[in-house]
């Protein structure tokens, strides 16, 4: 579509030094620790109390909409932040923020805020209120006064009204009666055990990409008009429901307009009290812009950014900041950019582009203005995550043609300069449609930043999505959600992270006849037989399948129960207003209003399980060299005293492993992912659509790994699992072998995304490295091949071991060193020791001498 007219040389010349105010603000951003913001929970709780919502057996979408309107109308309109908090635990204090952002409004009332959702998971912070400000790892500041308000006023009414508790009371006990030990639900107990599965509906609504096309086309006033026209007189139940839905949409949209007008008023007040002409001008511009946007449709690039930003803050008032994603910003913004630059002469165009880059950088800081709730124990297990707001660029357009445009390159440059973990930049690359120049630029940014962006293969993703029923048009407009999950932008209300399933626990249950080493002698799942009595690998495979199916059933059951609680207690008028489908059907996305209604499961431990199955198949059954009983003894002893068995199991030349281009193991991987895909896809969620499967693990591969004993692939007790879909470290030193194994996997079985972590050692010559990099991606993505779709995704860490070690010793110097964990980007220094170790121990592929260095175990005290 759009020809590339932007001047790349200019773009690469502009760096933060050209934008001193922006740079200063970015420095403050990194100096600030997150502060817990009680504004949202306070206003939500007040409204619930004032209107008796806590006493209701069901909360209507209109009640919810009025709640959010109340928040929008009463929250503090902050144009520029004045103060931020330094590392309180080391005696740092409040400092001034010279905020000059062109974007007014904020997700919380703080410069960098922690969003609290008492409806969901906010109460977990309760025991830490007095200590969270000074905890050693990633502290959150909260004042004594705010802590008291949470303790006495805000938290108490929610004790029996969180999504988790309502679900427990409603679905497993007599309604609203306290449960006794006996009927305490299995699924919830399994969840609490951590090792089996987690269901994220307890902590958030969904992973998805809202639809911004309408606000950009007609403004909120146009959307309100549409909703009002659709509100017809209510006769039957269906019409009453629809009437209520459209009324709710109007409530929240009017609330957002009210918020933006109050921002304008606040800017006007600040302008009046300012003595500085430049500041006055800036504020006056904000006044005018926020009086217009997002109520009216935006006409310029800046106005379009403003519309998206303002609506984004409102979306986070409703939807927890866990993976809610922005979608294809380059596609949404390009028409505005194109119009803006159409009549500009060369010099003006240069000035404009520089300004556009600065605006995007400012927006990046805004998007990163909040972090999710994280308790201290969670920090130890799963820490370092941001809110994973993915931004997607590139790929193909609705006709299947090259969609890379000037804004794509502006966004890439902004991400390269800002190096923020949030937003999490995802690049789509179609090997047969997008240019080599674009790919080389993606490679270059990866080499320069060390981790940004992840690259998704359009050919493979489109095939995967269409295999699950998405139309070609829906698939072509996919964006990345959270970590790596592809969904049709604004169309798929597909909670990709609904279930996090630990596949290693299914293996464990099969090894121990329905018991798990972590939970002791208790029978957890159905007996599938003592494996020492099995006559063939097939017997064991069937037992593993049975246990997996049982786990899937438990996890999907809990997910659906929580989903039903969402439907009745957490209707989502804001998200529904910004989605394709609900406005036509007059139906909340939670009720099935969206065009696509899938749910998703992410699998933890794939490579370790596949390698374990391969080891069992080869040594117990094919070679009959290790009896099952002896294997179990070795596991029990964590291989102490079994060095011969350990040596065999760990040795890639002796025991076939996934990721070594070895069909023995790769075929097992294909069987496992196909089986999981078939089983999940066969199950319907509470919105009558299917489950899709993905392979990305955030930091769960390290956290859950701690709870898992030794496995038959030679993984020792408590060790990390391999991350995402990545093979176990050091199965090969030849990257092409690993990538060939990955490309063998049927892509329809990876329809909820996959994270392949590849660690490269930086080369002395970045240009040569860039060529190698691009060639590798093209080969992996099946460029020029009719039938071969190639691998679905690849993401890199291009940081040397020395830099990581240096960063561990001097975190203050490496505060913005980004790393890919599994899908999302984190700051290396924010990660706990176990995760840092995991990243450092990943196979390191050296592009330069052509072969990986065996990455010796890193000796780090955890």
């Amino acid at each position: 579509m759009a020809g590339i007219t932007i001047n790349h040389e200019n773009l690469s010349c502009w760096d933060l030094a050209q934008f001193p105010k922006l740079m200063a603000l970015r420095d403050k951003y990194f100096a600030a620790i997150p502060e817990m913001c009680i504004e949202r929970p306070r206003l939500i709780t007040q409204y619930h109390l004032q209107n008796g919502l806590f006493d209701k057996n069901k909360i209507s979408i209109l009640d919810k909409a009025k709640t959010y309107r109340y928040v929008l109308e009463n929250r503090l309109p902050i144009v520029w932040h004045e103060k931020a908090m330094g590392r309180h635990d080391v005696g740092a204090d409040r400092f001034d923020v010279e905020d000059t952002s062109p974007f007014a409004g904020s997700t919380t009332s703080k410069f960098k805020g922690v969003l609290l959702y008492p409806e969901l998971f906010g109460l977990v912070m309760w025991p830490e209120l007095n200590t969270v400000s000074t905890r050693p790892s990633n502290p959150f500041y909260i004042s004594k006064k705010d802590a008291e308000e949470l303790n006495f006023k805000i938290y108490p009414p929610w004790m029996k009204k969180t999504v988790w508790e309502i679900t427990r009371y409603r679905h497993y006990c007599n309604q609203f009666q306290e449960p006794t030990t006996d009927d305490y639900p299995d699924e919830m107990k399994l969840f609490q055990n951590v090792v089996f599965f987690l269901t994220s509906k307890a902590i958030c609504i969904s992973h998805c990409i809202p639809d911004f096309s309408m606000v950009l086309k007609v403004g909120l006033s146009g959307m309100i008009l549409d909703a009002k026209e659709k509100k017809i007189s209510s006769e039957n139940d269906e019409e009453v429901r629809q009437y209520e839905f459209y009324s709710a949409v109007v409530e929240v949209l009017e609330g957002i307009i009210s918020y933006s007008k109050r921002l304008a008023d606040e800017a006007a007040r600040l302008a009046a009290s300012s003595n500085d002409a430049e500041t006055k001008d800036k504020l006056s511009e904000i006044v005018n812009r926020y009086r217009k946007i997002p109520e009216s449709k935006p006409d310029t690039f800046l106005e379009a950014l403003t519309a998206i930003w303002t609506c984004w803050t409102a979306l986070h008032l409703e939807n927890a900041n866990i993976g809610l994603s922005l979608g294809r910003l380059d596609q949404l913004l390009y028409p505005f950019y194109e119009k803006d630059v159409a009549s500009l002469c060369k010099q003006k165009r240069t000035e404009y582009d520089k300004c556009a880059l600065e605006l995007l950088c400012y927006l990046w800081l805004k998007i990163g203005d909040h972090v999710p709730t994280m308790l201290e124990a969670g920090e130890q297990l799963f820490g370092g995550t941001g809110s994973n707001q993915a931004v997607t660029i590139g790929g193909v357009d609705e006709k299947g043609e090259d969609a890379v445009n000037d804004v794509t390159y502006l966004i890439l440059r902004a991400a390269e300069l800002m190096r923020l973990r949030d937003p999490n930049l995802a690049a789509r690359y179609h090997p047969d449609k997008n240019s080599r120049d674009y790919l080389k630029r993606l490679s270059e940014v990866n080499i320069k930043t060390g981790a940004i962006p992840a690259i998704h293969n359009d050919k493979a993703v489109l095939k995967a999505l269409m295999s699950k029923g998405d139309s070609e048009g829906q698939a072509r407009d996919y964006g990345i959600v959270g970590c790596v999950e592809p969904v049709s932008s604004g169309r798929t209300f597909g909670h990709n992270a609904a279930i996090i399933l630990n596949l290693a626990s299914a293996l464990e249950l099969a090894l121990y006849d329905g018991k798990h080493r972590h939970t002791g002698p208790k029978q957890i799942s159905p007996k599938t037989g003592d494996p020492t009595t099995f006559g063939s690998f097939r017997d064991f495979w069937l037992a593993f399948q049975e246990q997996t199916k049982w786990l899937i059933n438990r996890a999907t059951t809990l997910n659906d129960q929580l989903g039903k609680t969402h439907q009745e207690f957490y209707p989502t008028p804001v998200l529904s207003a910004f989605f394709k489908g609900p406005m036509d059907k007059g139906m909340d996305v939670l009720q099935g209003g969206a065009e696509i209604n899938s749910s998703g499961a992410a699998i933890i431990g794939l490579a370790d399980v596949v390698d374990s199955l391969s080891a069992i198949k080869k040594w117990v059954y094919d070679k009959k060299q290790i009896p099952f009983s002896r294997l179990l003894e070795a596991l029990e002893a964590d291989f102490e005293g079994f060095s011969d068995i350990f040596g065999l199991l760990e040795n890639t030349n002796k025991t076939p492993k996934f990721g070594n281009d070895d069909n023995y193991a790769d075929s097992i991987a294909i069987e496992v992912v196909s089986f999981l895909d078939k089983e999940f896809y066969a199950r319907k969620n509470y919105r009558d659509a299917n489950y899709r499967v993905g392979y990305w693990t955030m930091t769960f591969h390290a956290g859950i790994g701690k709870f898992t004993g030794a496995l038959p692939n030679g993984r020792r007790s408590q060790a990390n699992f391999a991350s995402g879909i990545t093979p176990v470290s050091n199965v090969t030193h030849y990257l092409s072998k690993t990538l060939n194994s990955l490309a063998k996997l049927p892509v329809q079985a990876l329809s909820s995304g996959a994270a392949l972590n590849i660690k490269y050692t930086p080369e002395p010559d970045p240009n040569i490295m860039c060529d190698h990099f691009a060639a590798t991606v093209d080969a992996f993505f099946g460029k020029g091949e009719e039938t071969n779709h190639g691998g679905i995704q690849i993401q890199f860490n291009v940081t040397s071991q020395e830099t990581f070690l240096e960063a561990m010793n001097h975190p203050e110097k490496y505060f913005d060193l980004p790393v890919r964990v599994s899908g999302y980007t984190a700051y290396f220094v924010d990660l706990n020791r176990q995760m840092q170790k995991e990243i450092m121990e990943r196979t390191e592929y050296l592009l330069s001498p052509g072969q990986a260095q065996p990455s010796a175990p890193v000796d780090i005290q955890i």
Partner: protein
């Protein structure tokens, strides 16, 4: 039970000797005396507010069910008992009392360790655990000013 500083001395004894009942008993005393002179001197002022309008039953028991204690909160009052209860909001089952105190009073690593070792199991409404955790930590760390309770 004695009052004031001597009570604190009593509390400050070997923390490993704290029984559940003993701690709950102290908590009850703290609620009841938070607005008296003796409590205020210990920094307990306002502590009682935590249990105003609060109704809840907590059961504490060892894995072998031998040690049991209950705490019933009812609109500002707290009753500590031995033996179980048929209806409860939260039941904590623990390996030994030290494991319980670590679980309640410690931060990240100890909680993770306790989960890894399965030292403590929690049943029922976890929000009640969070509230109890706040009240216990607030009392011991903030109000009594103890820096840490385990060596």
């Amino acid at each position: 039970m004695t009052e004031g500083a001597s009570f604190l001395d009593w509390l400050l004894g070997n923390t490993e000797d704290w029984s559940v009942e003993r701690f709950l008993g102290f908590m009850k005393w703290a609620f009841e005396h938070s607005d008296h002179t003796s409590g205020a001197a210990l920094g307990l002022k306002g502590y009682h507010e935590n249990i105003e309008n609060f109704k809840a039953v907590y059961v504490f028991e060892t894995e072998d069910h031998l040690v049991q204690a209950t705490a019933c909160f009812n609109d500002g009052s707290m009753v500590v008992g031995t033996g179980g209860a048929t209806k409860w909001d939260l039941k904590i089952s623990f390996k030994d009392v030290l494991a319980l105190w670590k679980f309640i009073f410690s931060g990240g690593n100890d909680i993770v360790d306790s989960m890894l070792a399965n030292d403590v199991q929690v049943y029922g409404n976890l929000n009640y655990l969070y509230k109890f955790g706040f009240m216990a930590k607030d009392l011991v760390f903030q109000r009594l000013g103890l820096k840490r309770i385990f060596v």
